[in-house]
Subunit: 193 residues, 2 copies
DNA sequence: TTTAATTCTTGCCAAATGGCAAGTTTGCTT
DNA sequence: AAGCAAACTTGCCATTTGGCAAGAATTAAA
């Protein structure tokens, strides 16, 4: 059986028996398009494995504008690590872009696993490292890649985003205006086919 | 006694006794200005607490240009988490900008602490969360803040950098050319003083 | 101290992006 | 199906940033 749990909690030191314990602490939770999963200012007490659907993260700047800060696609964990692990108000809001099927685990249960299963905390550390790598890569891309390349990369890595998220919100994620992104899109079509 | 260890390994669940164990697994290592601490392509097997000094991280792009990806200042941990925790070749090179006094701990010893001291792994998780927060903030700044503001922020947060790092390397970190940063600097002087 | 190399500044012009507003398309609601 | 609102495109022009190259300033070396 290949499940979302096997996909996400994948680590050489996590035996199948442990995986069963882990699975049993997750409860299915479904979200509808537009639902707020974590509100800015609130303190997270859980995270969610995203089985199907698309979720966005955003912040509101001083000018009341919404700035998209990330996307979660299926097979990823919907979470605000600083809020959950430092018990601080979340900076970001997490919102379902489409209907979502997720599996929720609360902090207390996570904590049990973390301290009781060595393989689980090994997995956790790898997960954190991967997150850091991705974020570092994103910062680097903001510096070294053109807006066009960043858009192409997003298409490649998360095509669901282009299908489901308004251009304006994609634009803030890429760091350009919606006007520019519209032109970028046009140029790509002209160039590539 | 207020030491670098107390500063860095600060967590409510880390008693003084544990801190002593932790301290004993660190060995002092000094670097000279220009020394390579971790070379791109190599796999890290340790990290370093930076007591005094300044370290930079950089990558080389397709065009042989050096792109600065980060700075480590005193009280921070010099590390490439993906390389150390996933045993993969480092993307970044870490290099001493000034002479440095550091305290080194190797992976094997870290591993002992991580699995034997619950407070230590609690600390580790918080550390990771903070790193993620900082990096997320940096990505956001790249989008929402002007180059001028990013420069002012760097002055405020890590003034040592401005004193010790060539303008060109600061420029790649901020995502502008050295020409532009030079002009930004001029405007700041004109405006503020 | 003199030379040489690096670092930094500046002028000129090109290229990229932004801001605004009008117009078009799309999709939803009644 | 008609009307409406949201999403997207496009033209015009201003602003920002980049690229190049020359020159000034600083630093290090001989």
């Amino acid at each position: 059986m290949q499940s979302i749990f096997h996909d996400i909690y994948k680590h050489p030191l996590l035996p199948e028996a442990d995986l069963q314990s882990i699975m049993h602490l997750h409860k299915q939770v479904n979200f509808n398009k537009g639902d707020i999963i974590l509100k800015s200012g609130c303190i997270a007490n859980e995270y969610y494995l995203l089985e199907t659907g698309l979720v966005k993260a955003f912040v509101i700047n001083y000018n009341e504008d919404e700035i998209t800060t990330g996307f979660f696609t299926d097979g990823e964990i919907i979470i605000s690590p600083p809020s959950l692990f430092q018990h601080t108000p979340s900076q970001e809001t997490l919102q379902a872009v489409t209907d979502c099927v997720t599996w929720k685990i609360v902090f207390e249960d996570f904590q049990q696993l973390y301290h009781n299963l060595p393989g689980f905390r090994e997995w956790g550390r790898v997960w954190f490292s991967q997150q850091l790598f991705s974020l570092k890569q994103r910062s680097l891309d903001m510096i070294t890649e053109t807006a066009t390349n960043r858009y192409l990369k997003l298409i490649k890595e998360k095509p669901q985003v282009i299908q489901n998220v308004p251009l304006k919100q994609i634009a803030t994620y890429l760091g350009v205006t919606d006007t520019s992104l519209s032109r970028i899109r046009k140029d790509i079509i002209k160039t590539a086919g």
